[in-house]
């Protein structure tokens, strides 16, 4: 093995196919998009170079400010819910259900395999108020509360989006974190138990520190997925009312493909890239030290 890996030609041969595909589908389009962000125009009439105009417009466009704020708010709130809820589920699998957890894990994981658009349509009907009153409002009615038009206000729509995306993804984070928890040596847990640690203390002082690497990985994974939310919101309420729940990604799509402003759309795409990068670096920075300590 060592002999093969010291052969440069072999390394090139092994890497080449993956590298070609990666460059073809990731690097080239990204570079292309970066180039587009300095141009204005359409495929029909051609493109003109406009310098940094698209980027300066990012600062002055009130919709960018609003969608950026929404994206960050959505990502932070959803991420906290995903990690906390996923972690609790993982603990539940590990300590309460133990070997019986397979069925429950499968059931909780099930929404992950559903297409986001189908889930969005489902939630659209669940929370509907017209033309038919949906199940959620029916329950409210039973309790004597007036039905709420969830999608009419930014706050209501935001609540539905968080509930929907949490339901859709909690099972995934639970399994991811569960895999990390299972990895913790039973000897460590056993000796902690003998030392008298149990319940909350066991989780706080033993399980949590030892599972930090997988939690950090989940946070980075979740943050990047949440910052790039698109399909579920598009299908649920198209970012409405108005642009109250429009994430950057959806605004980028609308700008490029509905308003035919490819240059400005690419500039928004660059903003999303920078946002993901900054988020990831921040999480890494804040965690590196502590992860090192824990492991």
């Amino acid at each position: 093995m060592g002999h093969i890996l010291s052969n440069r030609r072999a390394i090139v041969l092994f890497l080449a196919p993956a590298l070609v595909v990666y460059v073809g589908v990731i690097v080239v389009p990204s570079a292309w998009s970066l180039v587009y962000s300095f141009f204005k125009g359409t495929p029909a009439l051609g493109f003109q170079y406009v310098g940094f105009a698209n980027f300066t417009k990012l600062w002055t466009d009130p919709t960018v400010r609003q969608t950026l704020l929404f994206t960050v708010k959505y990502a932070v709130v959803l991420l906290i819910c995903q990690i906390v809820f996923g972690y609790l589920l993982a603990l539940f699998y590990l300590f309460f259900l133990r070997r019986l957890s397979t069925l429950i894990r499968t059931l909780v994981f099930f929404p992950v395999v559903l297409p986001p658009v189908a889930v969005a349509l489902l939630f659209n009907k669940l929370f509907a108020v017209a033309p038919q009153i949906g199940p959620v409002n029916s329950v409210l009615q039973l309790l004597g509360i007036t039905p709420v038009d969830w999608f009419a206000t930014g706050t209501g729509a935001f609540a539905v989006i968080i509930v929907m995306d949490l339901w859709r993804s909690a099972g995934f984070y639970a399994v991811l974190l569960y895999a990390g928890l299972v990895d913790i040596s039973s000897d460590v847990i056993e000796s902690a138990r003998i030392d008298g640690a149990s319940g909350v203390r066991l989780v706080r002082h033993i399980i949590l520190p030892l599972s930090k690497p997988i939690v950090i990985a989940s946070v980075i994974f979740g943050l990047n997925a949440d910052l790039k939310v698109f399909d579920s919101i598009l299908a649920l309420n198209n970012g409405g009312p108005g642009t109250a729940t429009t994430p950057l990604n959806l605004y980028m799509f609308q700008t490029s493909f509905l308003y035919s402003d490819y240059g400005y759309g690419s500039a928004i795409a660059m903003l999303i890239t920078v946002l993901c990068l900054v988020g990831t670096v921040l999480v890494f920075r804040s965690s590196r030290q502590r992860v090192g300590e824990a492991v």
Partner: protein, 365 residues
């Protein structure tokens, strides 16, 4: 000639047309946004737009296009005729005669009367107006017609020419009036996510009293979707007291643009266009009960009563106006529609609504 049709979801249409234009591969006929086919627009510049008016002249069938359709198209497209008028629609209020009779309401002629009627219906537990929040132009057209009634037929032309702004108090007032309709609870409840189909079904099944709509709705009125039979009536949008517009000025349009690609217009295309000009008017009326911009050369008998009524109105219309978004680009169009529900649910103020649109227009979108 063999005809092949490609259907594309509305949201992807402009993207597809653009790419085809970029590859110089547009089909014989395509759909495009208004602003792209006027003189100076994208496809006009690329030479993909045939002037239908001149083409019909050359074919000797220019008389087969109705004068009112031609003038409406010319008004929309800076004096040119880039679209085949497969439709000719006027807009007004469809109403349910039975509900009106039950509540002792007669057809209102002024906006104040309309508001009084709406209050009466609302108090009796009837939804006065159907509209769809997810298809927001069903709401924003109200702003347009109020502007035309209040400021006269040049209300939107002035915006286009830059002699007025949507943020001027007179314009914001119209948006405020529509916001007030929402505040008073006159529109369908749950309007934000109510779809176009759900809203029309609500009206055509007698669950609301009125709906502001174009006469393309006749296709649904004449279908099984309508459970109210001949109780559906059509009236002009009432006049605004002291306004410069008048009640007989109907907003009119010639349907979504259907553009013939000038680069592919040959002898087959000419024969086809001539056939359409001579026969489409009758076929459209006989088969769907809807009107086109072509003359009805073969009289159609036994028209449903409402279709006949509307035909009379169209034949007697001397002046038409455009609709709210006629001069808007893609972004302004989308914002006018998407922000309409927040406007009537109080999530957005009239001032905000109009300034968003004005900003879109100012940036050329």
């Amino acid at each position: 000639m063999p005809i092949s049709l490609q259907s594309t979801p509305d949201a992807n249409l402009q993207q597809k047309v653009q790419l085809l234009a970029g590859q110089n591969d547009l089909p014989f006929m395509y759909a495009a946004d208004n602003t792209t086919i006027i003189p100076g627009g994208t496809y006009y510049k690329t030479g993909n737009v045939l002037d239908i008016g001149k083409a019909l002249d050359k074919l000797g069938v220019s008389d087969d296009m109705t004068a009112v359709a031609k003038s409406t198209i010319q008004q929309t497209f800076d004096g040119t005729v880039p679209s085949v008028p497969f439709q000719f629609n006027i807009e007004g209020l469809f109403y349910n005669k039975k509900i009106f009779a039950e509540h002792g309401i007669t057809v209102p002629t002024t906006y104040d009367e309309l508001l009084a009627d709406a209050a009466k219906l609302k108090a009796a537990g009837v939804t006065p107006f159907s509209a769809s929040g997810s298809t927001g132009w069903t709401i924003s057209r109200w702003i347009g017609i109020l502007l035309y009634r209040e400021l006269g037929p040049n209300a939107m032309q002035a915006i286009k020419n830059g002699t007025a702004k949507l943020t001027d108090p007179a314009y914001v007032k119209a948006a405020q009036q529509v916001a007030d309709l929402g505040k008073d609870g006159y529109f369908s409840s749950g309007i934000t996510s109510l779809s176009y189909d759900a809203a029309t079904t609500q009206f055509l099944t007698g669950k609301s009293a009125m709906m502001y709509m174009g006469t393309w709705l006749l296709a649904s009125v004449n279908s099984s979707q309508n459970t109210q039979g001949n109780n559906i009536g059509f009236m002009p949008f009432p006049a605004v007291t002291g306004g410069k517009g008048s009640i007989d000025q109907y907003p009119a349009n010639a349907g979504s643009p259907n553009v013939i690609n000038a680069k592919l217009y040959g002898s087959n295309g000419q024969a086809w266009l001539k056939c359409i000009a001579q026969n489409y008017g009758s076929a459209s009326l006989a088969d769907q009960g809807t009107f086109s911009g072509f003359k009805v050369n073969t009289p159609v008998k036994n028209l449903p009563p409402l279709t006949g009524d509307v035909q009379n109105i169209i034949n007697n219309t001397s002046q038409s106006v455009l609709w709210f978004e006629a001069y808007f680009g893609q972004k302004a169009n989308a914002d006018a529609s998407n922000d309409a529900a927040p406007l009537v649910t109080g999530q957005m103020s009239a001032q905000q609504y109009m300034s968003t649109l004005q900003a879109d227009l100012a940036s050329g979108n």
